[in-house]
Each structure stands twice: as C-alpha cells, then as structure tokens.
C-alpha cells in the first residue's frame, strides 16, 4: 500500500505516520488527524467566575453547536506543521531566482528584532506617550527611505506594493482635484506588472497602455501620442520588468509633467539602483517601495509585505494620516493631531488635506522594524553594494546563458534578465513552463514565467545579490542541462513529466479551477458547497 494512499484513507485521528523526508508520502489534513476530545490548548488560570454562555448571552445570539475545528494533540499539531514545512521550498533552502520578486536572503537578525516584546507587544491604540520607541523608529525609517528615494515624506500605511499603488493613485486624484482638475486617464507600459492596471481601475482611472519599443523601453513616440491634459499620470518601474533601465526617463518625465501629469514609480525593482540613482532625481513624484523585496523582509509564503509610499513636497499634505512625526514638526506636517503627543518627542499628525486612512492602524509595523534593521546594517555604502552585486549577478547570468536561451533584448540588464524559451519551444516543444518544472528537479526554484507578457515564453530570472558566483554557476549549469536534455532522445517527454523528485509531481491546475474545492468540506461534494 503506497503511503500516500494511506493518507487518502480518511480515518478519525488520521494516519500520522511521519515524514515526507522519507520519499513522497502525502500529509493528511489536520481535519483527518483530528479526533473528538483531543486537545492542545492550555489557557491561564484566571479565577474569573465561570458563568455559562446562557448566563452571558441572549439566546438569539448564542451559538448552538461549537465551531467544528480540528481536535489534535500538541504532538500531532507539531508533527503536522513540521512535515508541511518539509514540503515547502524557501530561500533558506536554496536559490530562488524568481524574477520581479527579489528573493534575497532574509537576515535572521530581523526575526529577532520583530520578536522583541518591546516592539511586538505594543497595542496600536496605546497613547503616543507610551509608544515613543515605535514612533522614533518610524521617523528614522522614514528619513532613510526619503534619502533612498529622493522623496520628501513617506507614509507607512500601505501593507504591500499594490496597496501603495492604489494609495498613490488616490494621491494623484487628490492632487488634481485640489487644483480643480478632473483627469481620467493613467498611462502604463505594456510591460507593467498586473497590479498597475488593476490599481488604476480601482483608483477610478482608465488605463492607457503604451507599447515597448525594440529596445524594451517605453516607446517615446507612442507615449507622446497619448499624452494630453486628461492624463493624470503615468506608472513606471525603472528598471522595468524586462530588467532594462528606461534610458529616456528624463524625456518621459518632462513630457508627462508638461501636460500636468504626475509620475508614479513602482518600486518593485528598486534593488537595482539603490544608491546609484533615485526615483526623485529621475523626476518621479510618487514612489512605492516593496520592503519585502528590496529591504529583505521575508515574503512569508505570499505576505506580509509593506508598501510605504514616498512623495515629493507638493504631495505631502495629501498623505494618509495620522503620521508619526517629531513633535516639533507636527505643525509643519499638519495641524490636526489625531492621538495625543503629550509626554514625548514624537507624536502623530494628520496631514491637512489627507486622503484619509488606508490601513486599520499604522501599516505593517513589524515589517517596518525589519526594514530599518536592514538599512542600518547596510548603511549607505552597503545599500549601494547591494545594487552593484545584484546587477553584476544578473548580467553574469545573462552573458552565460545567452548562447543557450533566447535573450529578447540582448543588452546589459539591471538586476534581472528576461530569457525566453521560444527557440527551444519551436525546435523541441519545450515551453517555459517545462523549463521551470525541470529546474525544480534540479533543486532550484523556478524563475517567473510568462511575465512580462510582452515576451513570448518568458523566463524572468532575478538571482539577487546574496547568491554567490558558485550558485550562479550551478544554476547556469542546470539551465544548460535542461536545454541539452531536451535535445536528447525522449528528452521532451522527460521534461513534460517533470518534476519527479518533488513532494508532489506536476499539479493539475486546470482541474482545480474546473472542480473548485476551496475547503476540506467541499471535498467529495463535486465542488464548493455551503458549509454549516
């Protein structure tokens, strides 16, 4: 009997028989490991009178049956999630050259910082007099990020890049409205990340797409053609998602500014230019940063991140509030203090024409503490080294792999290089997807595939600066083995069967969408069913 089949056999209490370490055994869900009456929880002895729910709640509000959750022993809880962790690739296990995501090493010191009780144990609604440390920390980080981006002020409320984008677009709107203007369109290049157009829509604007030119940059003529006084702004990332620096950024900036538009900088690729050139100096008015990319805060399997937004002087008054400020500056940053500033050198201030809140509280604070730690360890000198090494690594890979894979825009790249499998596909049928799955077998995470959309069979490789030359060599060899392998007898079949050494084999994604099973309770019902 194959071990996975056992996992499939649902028995109360499950089949907690150990480790994916050994071969490819499946892991039951926690619901299958559950047996009624088992427990892990232990709570403080409080001495509070033990009134019953009946004594505490009117009947109409009372739950009749408890929420059915899993019931497991602490031992099984630990084994379950430890085994799940062994079914998960991560930066800590190896190279993760996922383009646009900047999967660099996440320093362990930041975990220590984020778990300091003096930071993690602070209630967000505590009066400012009791949270001076947090306020000081945020002000220091704001100053550092202003310097890095060339902006005048930063809001920390946006919880991720996309939230920053939408915040930025609302700032654009507030800016124009304050000037009595109603503009309707925002321009984005066709190579942009999907969150850009989605944010534009949510910001209440229409998307105008401009194409890339033959060098992979914004087509200047096409841009000029769509520019008019209805354009609220343009969203760009520079270097762009092709890993190429928009050389015409000066002209773009003045063209957009000439029609009264604002420039929004998508900071996802800031890693490439830290300490080399600043968005503010390129002419941008608004910048979001993905601290979980450039500033090494871990991605957590999909989040949390943090997407602080920096703005130039003319937009400061519109920022979300309240904002942490030095008390002396409160007046400058906005008069209407929200929260007390008594008893401390730092306080909160709401910008006078604030667009309002964009977060329940102050943003992803512990992520911000990690980012400041990263900034302090590196310092100004170190941040520049980060960019240099990131760009060096990407170019090395580009040069090394350009004879094996297509390089749609074959010129020096910045922190990432977009390769393509188009030749391998037309010659052998090998798709970008197959290359990705084969790389998993080779022990590497796959690059980002099929993005940017403008490149056919795209393989977007971002090695980051924390990978060594030896790792790059090993990665390049793996890429080369994949290309060589497909030329061999049966090679394409082997590639399509990949990965065969991972916890599960190639996953049927289409089936997941066709027969939606979004919860354990929807299993066997032929899809999602209304649960109790």
């Amino acid at each position: 009997m194959n071990p996975n089949a056992q996992a499939e056999a649902h028995a109360p209490g499950g089949r907690a028989q150990s480790a994916p370490l050994m071969g490819r055994a499946g892991e039951p869900t926690i619901f299958e490991l559950s047996e009624p009456g088992r427990r892990s929880w232990q709570l403080r002895t409080t001495g509070v009178p033990e009134w019953s729910a009946e004594e505490l709640l009117p009947e109409a509000h009372r739950r009749v049956t408890p929420v059915p959750l899993a019931e497991v022993s602490e031992r099984d809880l630990v084994a379950h999630f430890t085994r799940l962790s062994h079914r998960q690739f991560s930066v800590d296990l190896g190279a993760y050259p996922l383009g646009s995501c900047t999967m660099k090493y996440n320093p362990k010191i930041c975990d220590t910082v984020a778990s300091l009780p003096g930071l993690a144990g602070v209630h967000p609604g505590a009066p400012a007099s009791t949270t001076q440390g947090w306020l000081a920390l945020l002000v220091e980080l704001e100053e550092a990020l202003c310097e890095v981006t060339g902006m005048a002020a930063v809001t920390f409320q946006p919880a991720a890049g996309a939230a920053g984008e939408l915040t930025g677009l609302l700032l654009v709107r507030a800016y124009h409205e304050a000037r009595g203007e109603q503009r309707r369109r925002v321009i984005i290049p066709d190579s942009a990340h999907g969150t850009n157009p989605a944010s534009v829509t949510l910001g209440g604007y229409e998307v105008t797409t401009v194409p890339s030119d033959a060098r992979g940059c914004v087509d200047a003529a096409a841009l000029r053609a769509v520019l008019d006084r209805d354009v609220a702004g343009i969203m760009l990332t520079n270097p762009n998602t092709l890993g190429l620096f928009e050389e015409g950024i000066e002209e773009i900036a003045s063209a957009v500014h000439d029609v009264g538009g604002l420039l929004y900088y998508d900071g996802a690729n800031l890693n490439a230019i830290l300490g080399v050139v600043r968005p503010g100096d390129m002419g941008f008015d608004i910048v979001h940063l993905n601290l979980h990319k450039t500033f090494a805060t871990p991605h957590g399997g999909g989040g949390p991140g943090a997407g602080p937004v920096g703005v130039s002087a003319r937009l400061v008054d519109f920022l979300p509030g309240p904002r942490p400020v030095r008390v002396g500056q409160a007046a400058h940053a906005g008069a209407a203090a929200d929260g007390t500033t008594a008893g401390g050198r730092y306080g909160w201030a709401a910008p006078p024409r604030s667009i309002g809140r964009v977060h329940s509280w102050h943003g992803n604070a512990l992520v911000l503490a990690r980012a400041l730690t990263y900034v302090l360890v590196h310092g100004g000198d170190g941040l520049r080294r980060v960019a240099e090494r990131a760009v060096l690594n990407a170019n090395w890979l580009r040069a090394r792999l350009s004879s094996t894979y297509d390089v749609p825009f074959d010129r020096p790249c910045m922190h990432e290089v977009v390769l393509a499998a188009s030749t391998l596909k037309s010659r052998y049928g090998l798709r970008a997807l197959d290359v990705a799955k084969r790389l998993l077998e080779e022990g590497f995470h796959a690059p980002t595939i099929y993005f940017p959309l403008v490149v056919d069979e795209a393989l977007m490789v971002e090695p980051t600066e924390t990978e060594s030359l030896q790792t790059l060599e090993a990665l390049a060899e793996a890429f080369e083995r994949i290309a060589a392998g497909v030329a061999e007898e049966g090679g394409i079949d082997a590639a399509r069967a990949a990965p065969r050494t991972t916890p599960v084999g190639r996953v049927d994604e289409a089936r997941a969408a066709r027969t939606l099973i979004p919860t354990f309770d929807a299993r066997g019902t032929g899809g999602a069913a209304r649960a109790g």
Partner: protein, 475 residues
C-alpha cells in the same frame, strides 16, 4: 563593513572580466550620468549586527506600552499565543517562501492555507474563504467592492458600529471606486437602520431619524454591519438581512472571529460576505501590523472573490495536491479586469492562524470566547459600581468589549492608568476624533473608553484595574 553579500574581490574581478567590463560603475552605463547620485546616499555607513540589535532594542525599551497590562481592544487583542504556535509558524520554510507559484515545491504553504480557508469558512458559516487580505479594513473595502459588483449598485449603507478606522478606509477608497458611502448612526449602541419597521416601527426614517436622502444615492447595493459592533454591542442582524433582501443588496458582516466562538455565525444570520480581523489568531499586537484580513463569501460570489484562493486538486499521478486557483481573478492575467489589485497579502498570518486554530480546536475556541465574555461581564459589573463610571451603550448586551463613560475625559483616564501599569483601553476620541461621529456624539467621544478583557486577564489583574480606574476617575 559587514553585509550579507558573498562576493569576494576576486569574484567581482572575475565576473567583470567575464562581462568585459572595467569596473562596477560600468554596470550602470544605461543610467544617465547627470541623474546619478554623486556622493552616494547620505546615510550613515553600515553598522555590525550586534550594534544594530542594541539600537533596535533601545527603540523597543522606549515603548512603555509593552509593559502595561492590556485592557485595550478596538480590533487588536491581547490573546494567548503559545510557544508552540510561535515555533511552528516561525519555521523558516514558511517565513522565507514566496507566493506559491510553483505548487510542486509549495505544498507546505498551500496545504496550510487550504486548512486555514476551511477553518475560517467554518467560523463564518459561509462555504468559501480566501487566503487572506491585509487587515480587517482592507477586507471590508474588498467586500464592499464585491457587493457593489454583485448588486450593480454603488450605494453602500454602513453601520456606524463598524470600526471607525475601517469606515475611514472605506471613505478613502470610495474616492477611487466611486461608491457612495452612507454611515448609519447608532442609537443606544445599535444601528438605527432607516426604514426598517422592525427597528423603528412607524418611523419611515428609522429610529435615528436621519434617513439617507435620495440625493445620497438611492437604495443600497451593499449593507454593512458589525457583529459585535466596535463598541462591543450585539446587534440583531435579522433586520439587516431584511434590508438587504428588500433592496437586493449584498449583506456584509464584519464579524469578530473570536466572539464567533460563542455567537451565532454570521452565515446563519444570512450574511453574503463575512469579513474580519484575524490578528486574534496567533498574531501579537505588533503595533497594528502585520495583521490578517479574513474574507468569506458564498459559492455564488466566488468568481468575484478578491485575493488568492487555494484549491485541492491532484498531481499527474493522482495524488492529492493543492494549488492557487481561479487565477483569472487576479491581476497577472486579466489585469485591469481583476477583481482586486491585491498581490502580496498576509499568508504567513494565515498560516499562523491555521496553527493557532489547530491548537485551539473546537473546544479551545469556544473556551477563549467564553472566557472573554466572562471577563468582560465581571469587569463591567464592577466598573459600573464605581462612582464616575457609567455605561455608554445602555444595557445592550456586549460580549468581549464594552464602552464605558468616565467622568474625566477618557484620554485623561488612560494617561492616569498608564502610570499605574494599565493600558486602560482606547479613548473613543482617538478612534472617532473629537467631534464624534455616527456612533457617539462629541461628549461620548471625549468620555468614552473602550475596554476589552481577553482570556488572559486574571481576576487579580481585573481587580487591580478596577482599583486604578476608581482612582483615575476620582482624581
């Protein structure tokens, strides 16, 4: 000079040589020279880790709030987070992974999120939950977007019992979406829905007498209510369902997920969408973030669901496997047609919640909820006996949080009690501003103190709190 870069000088030299470059500056040839930063960043040079740790520790020590006994809530609660949850959720495979784009090597996160979705769906009483949003407020914003899309109408009636910050976010984002947000006032701690006869018999405009005018956008496409509301009060949700039915509107409930352990589920009350703040499940107070936006909906709405969704499927050999699904909703495919712009979300907090809910289990969740209710009752009964303390929401039943009226301004009470070692609660003025809003008037804002008692508070601690409160209101 210390950093995390592996490059030796020899490595750099060899790599430059391979690229035919003279020096590192040449890598940036594409950057117009005039734009480049001349003297480097005006930041101090890097410091070694132990020095930085000492600096960060100094920030931490400067936060007196961390040492205060916490009776503050307002959407952020001091619940038990046991060592086992921290150990498991902190495993580096979960922490240092990216979004599970390659399911074959991401089954760990995917299965944990699938389990999370199941648990949260069960809590809400709805069949589908997504894989997390940023926080409670962003979940609410997305719920309103979904509701408006589903009903085809942009008018949104929002109970003023919804957390003031969440309402603030709704207002902010409505500038982009164009939704008409109408905040329905509270009366005596519960929403005075306009036109609902069960609420205000005979009065067309409802008990509060402030009917949203026709100018305010006509019948609602979305109705939003909180359960319990932010003042801790339990509102009857039946009229809300009736309202929604009457107008063909989407009913959105912002539910406290801990209280859900002993309350009738929002799904049972008829909610179409349930949102909530998931911080209570294993995430520390964290000065407000990273938190966890909970989001559940009906199967009918699944294709409008914002954010990520994990589904079960099989691999080529037929083995059970998990994968993010219905990706067409996300931005990487249909772009401007996406249901939302959320990309990076709060997966690690979702994994944490799965571990915490696994630890709590059926019995533990109910027990935590019950203990919160008991502590709240105990504190309420004793606090109201103090001269200078009165109820702000009358005798409306509360469950895990309550609003008191203190004779001195609540901010003063909070400051005085901080000196005694207590975080007394959140002064309502800090949430709604000095002028009050639809939930409390200016007097209520000034004197309202929102107090939460979690399962971690012992009777000695509560008694100590009461002594300090007595002193603070007398002073």
């Amino acid at each position: 000079m210390a950093d995390y870069l592996p490059h030796t000088d020899e490595d750099v030299a060899a790599m430059l040589a391979f690229l035919g470059l003279q020096d590192l500056d040449e890598l940036f040839a594409a950057v117009p020279a005039a734009m480049r930063l001349a003297g480097g960043l005006d930041l101090a040079d890097g410091e070694p880790e132990p020095d930085v740790l000492a600096r960060m520790d100094a920030f931490a020590r400067a936060n007196r709030a961390a040492d205060l006994l916490c009776f503050a809530g307002a959407g952020a609660y001091d619940h038990e987070v046991p060592p086992v949850v921290r150990a498991l959720a902190g495993r580096s495979e979960f922490v240092t992974a990216y979004t599970p784009y390659q399911p074959e090597v991401a089954q760990g996160v995917l299965q944990a999120v699938f389990e999370y979705q199941t648990m949260v769906a069960r809590l809400s009483g709805l069949p589908v939950a997504n894989a997390s949003l940023y926080d409670g407020a962003s979940a609410l914003v997305e719920a309103v977007n979904l509701g408006a899309g589903a009903s085809g109408r942009q008018t949104v009636w929002v109970s003023s019992g919804v957390h003031p910050h969440w309402r603030g976010c709704l207002r902010t984002f409505s500038r982009g979406s164009g939704h008409q947000i109408l905040e329905i006032p509270l009366a005596g701690g519960v929403t005075a829905w306009p036109g609902d006869t069960a609420v205000a018999p005979g009065a067309p405009g409802g008990a509060a007498g402030r009917p949203p005018g026709a100018a305010a956008g006509g019948p609602p496409g979305v109705v939003v209510v909180a359960y319990p509301n932010y003042l801790g009060c339990l509102e009857d949700l039946a009229p809300v369902r009736r309202l929604a039915d009457a107008h063909g509107a989407t009913m959105v409930v912002a539910a406290d997920p801990v209280a859900a352990g002993i309350l009738r589920s929002a799904g049972e009350w008829g909610a179409d969408v349930v949102v909530g703040e998931g911080q209570a499940f294993g995430t520390p107070l964290s000065f407000g973030g990273p938190y966890l936006g909970l989001f559940c909906c009906t199967t009918a709405q699944v294709r409008r669901l914002p954010g990520r969704l994990v589904g079960e499927t099989v691999d080529l050999e037929g083995r059970r496997a998990y994968v993010t699904t219905l990706r067409a909703r996300e931005q990487d495919i249909r772009r401007e047609k996406a249901t939302s712009n959320v990309c990076t979300n709060q997966t690690l907090m979702a994994v944490t919640a799965a571990v915490q809910l696994g630890w709590l289990g059926t019995g533990g969740l109910a027990e935590v909820a019950l203990r919160c209710a008991r502590g709240t009752r105990y504190l309420r009964d004793a606090a109201l006996a103090i001269d200078g303390v009165s109820p702000l929401t009358g005798s409306t039943p509360v469950v895990r949080e309550l609003a008191l009226r203190t004779r001195p301004p609540a901010r003063t009470v909070v400051d005085r009690m901080a000196a005694e070692g207590f975080l007394a609660g959140v002064a309502l003025a800090d949430l709604v501003g000095d002028d009050g809003d639809g939930s409390v008037d200016a007097d209520g804002a000034a004197h309202g103190l929102l107090v939460a008692v979690t399962e971690r508070r012992t009777v000695e601690e509560i008694n100590g709190y009461l002594v300090a409160l007595d002193k603070a209101v007398r002073q």
